[in-house]
Every structure is written in C-alpha cells, then in structure tokens.
C-alpha cells in the first residue's frame, strides 16, 4: 500500500511540476512579447522600406504605413497584436503576404527534421565517444576526442558547412548541396516530415532522398552540440569514476561492464541530459545559419529573411513560438531527469 501511495505521490508531484511550469509560461511569454515589440519598434528602418524597395516615393511609404497601421502609436499596435493573438491569429507576413501560421507550419517540419537528425548524430556519437575518452583516459582516443571536440566548437558553422559541401557535394559528388529533396522526386506529403512521409506512404526512395539531403546540413549543425556532449560526458564520467560507490560496486565483485553501465554511465548522464536539453533549444538558432547555407527551407532560413525585411509579424510569431518550444523542451528534460534519477522524483 505504501508503495502505491508513494507512486501516487510521485505522479502528483510530476503533474504539479508540469502544471506549474506551464503556468510559468504565461508571464514569460507576456514579458517576452512586450520586450520583442519594443525591440522591433526600436530597429532602424521598418517593413515599409523593405517592402517598397529602392525607388519608392515618400507618398508610397505614407500610403503603406497607413494601410499596415504602422502610423499608429506603439501601444495601439501592441494591443492589436494581443487581440489577434487571443484569437490565435499570428497575423500575416509583410514580405510574403501569407499568414504567419501557414509560413510557420510549412517550414517547421524541415527545421525539426534537421534539428532532430543533428541531435541524433550528436548524441549517438557524442555520448559513447565521451564515455570511451574518459574510460581510456590519456590514450590516443582520449586525446583525439578532446582535441576534435575543441575543433568542433571553434570552427564556425557556416565555414564547416561550406567545407563539407566543397568536399562531399562539389568534389566527390556524393551528396546534394542544397534543398530538402531532389526536384524529380514527387513525394506525397502527409506530415511535412519528408523522411517520415516516405515511410508512411511506402515511397522509400523519397525517404532515402530526404535522408541524403539531410546528411550534410545535419553534420554541420551537429558539430557544436557533438563537441559539447563529448566534453561534458567525458568530464562527467571521469568525476563519477572517482566516486566511492563505484569503488564499492567494483570491490563487491560486480562485473566491470555492469558497474560502468548501471553506476557510472547512469549517474554521469544526468548533467549530460540537462545539456542536451539546452542544446536542443540552441539548435534552432544554429539552424538559422545552416539552413541559409544549404537553402534548407526551414524556419531558420525564413527568420533570417524576416530580420532583413523587418517582417514584424513573422518575427513576433516565430520568436514567441520558439520561446514556447524552449520552455516545453526544458520541461521534458526535467521529466527525463526524474526518470533517470529517482531521487528527483522523491524530493
């Protein structure tokens, strides 16, 4: 009975954590929206100049400012934004003339697909490499992993992207240099996630084509998270290896692999998981550069053009959504934390 009660207590705690974190979202997003609005209005220029181009007259500008309501005070514009937000309307992109929500949903799957692939590469390679580097400290593998990860952090993403394309697309011709899918692939769109869509519809060639297009941008995007995960895992494993309970487990005669897997890796992973959560959010900002270089039509690429064009509605909508996503990812990380470390659940 007591264990059931305890389980219920834990469930309630988790539920309370989720509700509390979701409620925290309200002031966070409200504050962010005010800051964003003020910041955007402080930017030099405005969407009118971006829209009208180099030969527009003063009259053209006045006309469009009136049409877009940009001649009204900031607080009126902010009120209009909030009113629309309450109606779940993010407005219309100044540059493309299409609803922001439509622009977002068209591009979001591309960024998620790219981000998840990059994260997968970073985690699948980073954790084992970091672990092995720590377990074989001082060997060539350790030195290689440490210096390699330093290089990964130092090389700017756009330069790495350029280099990867030069080698694998231009010189070797193994991989495509731009886009999400080949022009001659007529894939059926279901979810917008190209790899998944190919599997769902049985169009495996479309899936494979999408994977091939993902390789280079994902590698470029994964470089920094991979380097951080390797270093983080290595440091964390080294720390845990020196703990008393590891020595105790080993002295009890447990097999080395069991000690490493159950006691070392599990404990060492705690800070790594937190880092991965933070890196997931950062992947979105990394995507701005990577998507531009690879003409990968995700939200990162679109955000860049929105900044250039002072596309206020897109900037507001996208940044608010990214903030929301960031908070949700962190919540998920906290939940994952409680799965890995039972102490978190109890306390």
């Amino acid at each position: 009975m007591s264990s059931v009660k305890q389980e219920r207590g834990v469930d309630l705690k988790v539920l309370r954590l989720i509700v509390r974190r979701l409620l925290q979202l309200i002031p966070t997003l409200a504050g962010l929206s005010v800051l964003l609005f003020l910041w955007l209005n402080r930017l030099p220029g405005g969407p009118t100049a971006a829209l009208l181009g180099e030969r527009a007259t003063e009259a053209d500008r006045r006309q469009i400012e009136a049409a877009l309501g940009l001649d009204q005070p900031v607080w009126v514009q902010y009120g209009r934004f909030l009113r629309r937000l309450a109606e779940l309307d993010l407005g219309t992109s100044v540059q493309t003339g299409r609803p922001v929500w439509e622009e977002f949903t068209t591009r979001f799957p591309a960024t998620v697909e790219l981000g998840l692939t990059a994260l997968l590469i970073a985690v699948v390679i980073g954790i084992p490499l970091g672990y092995l580097a720590a377990a074989r400290r001082g060997t060539w593998l350790d030195v290689g992993a440490v210096s390699g990860s330093l290089l990964g952090i130092c090389i700017p993403v756009f330069f790495l992207a350029f280099l990867l394309k030069s080698v694998f697309a231009v010189n070797l011709g193994w991989l495509p240099s731009v886009g999400r899918q080949s022009n001659d692939i007529n894939a059926t769109e279901v979810t917008g996630f190209r790899v998944l869509d190919g599997i769902l519809t049985g169009e495996f060639d479309a899936s494979w084509d999408a994977i091939v297009h993902l390789v280079l941008p994902a590698l470029a995007l994964a470089s920094i998270p991979l380097a951080i995960i390797v270093r983080m895992t290595r440091a964390s494993v080294l720390e845990v290896l020196g703990e008393d309970y590891v020595r105790t487990a080993e002295s009890k005669g447990l097999r080395r692999q069991v000690v490493r897997a159950r006691h070392v890796l599990r404990n060492a992973l705690l800070p790594v998981v937190t880092t991965i959560g933070l890196l997931t959010g950062q992947l979105l900002s990394g995507a701005v550069l990577t998507e531009s270089v690879f003409a990968f039509n995700g939200i990162g690429n679109f955000l860049r053009t929105a900044i250039d064009g002072r596309d206020y509605p897109v900037l507001m909508g996208f940044i608010m959504f990214i903030a929301l996503l960031y908070v949700v990812i962190n919540l998920l990380v906290d939940l994952a934390y409680s799965l890995i470390d039972p102490r978190v659940r109890v306390h």
Partner: protein, 558 residues
C-alpha cells in the same frame, strides 16, 4: 553482451539493407534522373536568389517573381532575344495615333491560354480594365507598383496620394484587335506594354480571380489565394505552372504543348530558391542545378575555367555615386561636385572591381538606350585638377559622409564595400575626409539614402524597358530628397520629353537632357556592367538578355 552483439550486428545489417534497397529505388543524382543527360528533354533547374512573391505578375515588382512569371505569361509587346529592342509579343504589330493617346494592338491568331481558352481583343481589354478598376488593397503600391508607374491611378482613386489615372479605356473592335486609350502621351508607351507585370491572363482565370480578393487588414497585405498556388493562373507562355512547393522553395513549370510558337526545349522547368550566392555556385558545381543568376565577379573566371558557361549580357544599367546637394552647402557648389568627379579613377574601378564587359559611364544611361548623347561633358581622372577646384572653392578641408550598403549584391554593384573602398581612397587622395556609413541594404540603406541622409552614396538602376525616361525620369523629373536639388529647367525638359509623342523628337530631348545633366552634375555616373549568369556545360542556355529577361523555353539539354 554476448547476446547484444549479434542483435546490434543484425540491426546494423538491416539499416544497411534498407539503405541499399532505397538507393536502388532512388534516382541517380549524377545522371540527373530525367534531369538532363545527352539529348534529354527533362527537368531544367535554375537557382533563384529569392522566392517569387506571387504567381500573378501584375501584383509584383521584383525580379524573382518576373523571372518565373515571364515563362508563363506573355505581354502584348516583347523584346528581341538578347536585346532591349521592342518586337511583337502577343500583338504581332502595334501603332499609335499621332498624339500618342491611342494604341492599337493587332493580336496573333491562334493563341490559346493554358486553360484552353483563346486570346481575343476582349480578353486583352478585360485584363487592362481589371487593373484600372482595382480597389481597396490593390490600390496600394505594394500590389500595383507598375500599374501606377505606367498608367497612373485607378477608375476610383481611394487615396489622395494616388496619381491621376492616365488610362482611359480599352475597346476591341474585332476578335484580334485591342485599342487602348490613354489621356496623355507618355514616354512610358509603348515600352510599358512590354513589362512582365502586364502579362495577359485568360478570361476564365480573370473570372476566378474576382472571387478571391487581396486583403489589407492588420499589419500586412495578404496576397490573394489564387496567386499563391498553382491551378488558377493561366497565361499563354511556353510553360504552365505545375506547382509551388513553398516547403522546398520550388516553383515547377511544365511545357505547354499547345504553345503558339516553338515549344519549350525542356519538359520541366524548376526555379529553386537558393538565397546565398556561394550556395548557388556550389549547387551548380555539384550538379544540383543547371544555372543561376547574379554570379559574383570573382567567380566568373573560376566557373569559366572549370568548363561552365558564363555568357555575357549587354549592359543595361547604371551605377552611380549619388550626391545629396542640400545635405551639405559645399555640395551645392558645382566646382566641388566637379572636383569629386575628377577625383575618381573610374576606369581603374571598372577594371578591378566589375565583371567583364563593364564600361565607364559618361552619363546617366547606358549607350544601348535611345537618347544617349556623344556630346556630354566628360570628367577624366585628374586628381590635381580636383585639388585645384577644391582650393578655388575654399573647400580644402571638406569632410563628407559616404554611405554604402552591406550584405548585398546588385546587378550593377557586385561588391559595394570594395567599390566604396576604391572610391574612398580616391577622394582622400585629393584631400576630402570621408566618414564611412555602412548600412544594411534593406531597409536601412534604401531608406537613409532616399531620405537624403548621406552626402555621398552608391546606387544604381537597371532599366525596365528601352526608353530614356525610364532612366533620366527616374531620378531627375522632380525634386527628390536623395539628390537634394531644385532645377526647374531640367524638370521642364524632362516633362517635355515625357509627353512628346514623336519618338525622334523625344530622343533628341533625352540627348539634350543628358548633356544638361552632365553639365549640372547632380552625381557621378560610374559604370554600366553586365550582371553575370552561369550555366552548366551540358545545357544550351537561353539567349541572355540585357534586361535580365531570359526566356527559358529556348533552353535545352545538349
């Protein structure tokens, strides 16, 4: 572990097998699948610098939209391939009355739209009447820039700022004739009828458009739905729109088999958006695309040496150093402006900074435009004379702000920062202190220069069609903050030229205006240079156009 290992091996083997099978299913990238190859008529992929704004060209004013729509819609008047000379388009011939207020277009027989309907005089009139009767959001310059530029306002102007309409009406006396009447003769005609914005749409398409309005509520103008997806728009061009995949940044066109002229050399034409110039180059080098525009001058030789085709366009642009006279009293002195002109080594600039085919400009229009004068005052590179002129004007310690844009490549100005550096060195060599002001192109730079916020600045213009007013009138027809001067004599001269119906008399007026401008020297014309375009070795590229209006129906695979 002993159990786990075979499992892992099996998993890896399964992944590898899926990969192999999928590779087998996938098309061979190197052969381009159906995208090229010897004798193929497959898919031609062109790397565009930006997404089109709309599939209806009448709502647009940007080059990337027109690049796509020009393949789908045709205009009454066209340009001879590779030139800026007018020739028959959908109208085989055209003529105007003596006063230049009535334009008669004799249409081609047997022209069908993509939806199967026929081209008639009535359809042409329906197009012009639609633009003339636009109301609400459509009257905003964002959606009707070219209509307002060429034909003035609308049947019912809803805004005081909108110009008076010059369009009066259109009649179709018979099946294959359309007569367009305007209130005043203008230099905009007949060249304006060749603008991509005035591509002719089919009758049924126009009816469908009427159901689907643009809206301007809130903080942006929403394009009407029909202009954002394939299915409704229908022109007479050699290609019809198959799809616009915004997720991929691709517009797909396919060959229109009932085209009245020679059918397109490729079955499919795809415009793929690749914003970064270096990404476009790498995409061409890796075989992902067959061509792209706005090649960086530094890449021209690399690409040519590697076997890519980099044809040279005729020049049809002007790059100039703008001077805002009323931003600094010294600049109102002609001697100071003359000193600036003599201080610049423009030949060196053309030789070192601009692509092959670039020439020093002697006036504010390229020599390919009717109205170019051989008798303008010229200003050779002469730093001593420049110093002397500055000393005579008492401006030995002149300090000027010099604006230049960053993060941008324009057809007439491939690398603004480098161009600025060369000019700065020249100006400082004659004793002018230069205060640089680097601004992001859009919107900061365009806004600051337009508002007269710089003493000196770099800007240029690519002509829309071959008429001198499209160049001179753009800058000097009235007071503009960016130039900061009032000169009624020049304004009157251009007004007379603009309304002169006789072409020869108008050209003479342009020549006179060019001579006047170069004596008055409101700025320094620097150069005319052809923007480069590149194609892969395995294609027969379309004839390159000085107006950057390539017709991709001419393209084929070798």
């Amino acid at each position: 572990m002993s159990i786990a290992r075979p499992k892992a091996v099996r998993t890896l083997a399964a992944i590898a097998a899926i990969g192999v099978i999928a590779t087998g299913c996938s098309s061979d990238r190197d052969n381009g699948g159906d995208s090229g190859g010897s004798g193929s008529t497959g898919t031609f992929v062109f790397g565009a610098a930006g997404d089109p704004a709309s599939l209806d060209p009448s709502l647009a004013s940007d080059g990337e939209t027109f690049r796509v729509t020009r393949q789908v819609f045709e205009t009454l008047i066209d340009h001879k391939p590779g030139t800026s000379e007018l020739e028959g388009g959908l109208a085989e011939t055209w003529e105007s009355n003596d006063t230049g207020t009535e334009w008669t277009f004799n249409l081609r027989d047997g022209v069908t739209f993509h939806d199967g309907s026929d081209l008639t005089g009535e359809v042409v009139c329906a197009n012009f009447d639609r633009w003339y009767n636009w109301s609400g959001t459509y009257q905003n310059t964002t959606l009707s820039y070219y209509w307002q530029t060429i034909f003035g306002g609308f049947a019912n102007n809803e805004n005081d700022e909108t110009p008076e309409a010059n369009y009066v009406g259109c009649t179709a006396p018979d099946e294959l004739t359309a007569v367009i009447e305007v209130a005043q003769p203008s230099a905009n005609y007949p060249g304006g009828f060749s603008l991509a914005a005035f591509g002719i749409h089919s009758g049924p398409a126009l009816e469908a458009y009427a159901e689907d309005d643009a809206s301007g509520e809130g903080d942006a103008i929403t394009f009407p739905g029909y202009s954002q997806e394939a299915g409704t728009v229908a022109g007479t061009g050699a290609f019809k729109v198959d799809g616009w995949n915004k997720g991929n940044g691709e517009v797909s066109l396919s060959r229109f088999d009932d085209y009245w002229g020679e059918t397109a050399g490729v079955e499919k034409l795809v415009f793929q958006t690749i914003p970064e110039e270096s990404a476009r180059r790498q995409a061409l080098q890796s075989g992902d695309i067959h061509g792209y525009d706005l090649v960086a001058p530094a890449d021209v030789k690399t690409l040519s040496d590697a076997g890519f085709q980099v044809p040279t366009r005729d020049v049809f642009n002007i790059f100039y150093l703008g001077i805002t006279q009323d931003s600094n009293p010294a600049l109102e002195n002609l001697d100071v402006r003359t000193a600036i002109a003599h201080a610049l080594d423009r030949q060196n600039l053309v030789d070192t900074q601009l692509p092959e085919g670039g020439v020093v400009a002697t006036q504010f229009m390229p020599d390919t435009v009717a109205g170019y004068s051989d008798n303008v005052t010229t200003y050779d590179y002469d730093p001593e004379l420049a110093q002397q002129l500055l000393a005579d004007a008492g401006e030995e310690n002149l300090t000027l702000t010099f604006c230049y844009p960053t993060e941008v490549t324009r057809p007439y100005m491939p690398s603004p920062a480098d161009l600025y550096e060369v000019m700065r060195a020249d100006l400082e060599a004659v004793g002018i202190t230069v205060q640089p002001k680097a601004l992001k192109w859009n919107p900061d730079y365009t806004e600051v220069t337009r508002d007269g916020g710089c003493n000196l600045y770099l800007l240029g213009w690519t002509g829309d069609f071959n008429d001198g007013y499209n160049f001179l009138g753009t800058w000097f027809a009235n007071y503009q903050k960016e130039w900061g001067f009032e000169n009624e004599e020049l304004f009157d001269l251009l007004e007379r030229a603009s309304t002169e119906p006789d072409v020869e008399a108008r050209v003479a007026l342009y020549e006179e205006a060019n001579e006047f401008v170069m004596d008055f020297l409101p700025g320094v014309p620097i150069s005319s240079s052809p923007p480069s375009i590149a194609f892969s070795a395995d294609v027969n590229p379309p004839t390159v156009s000085p107006l950057t209006q390539e017709v991709f129906a001419e393209a084929s695979f070798k």
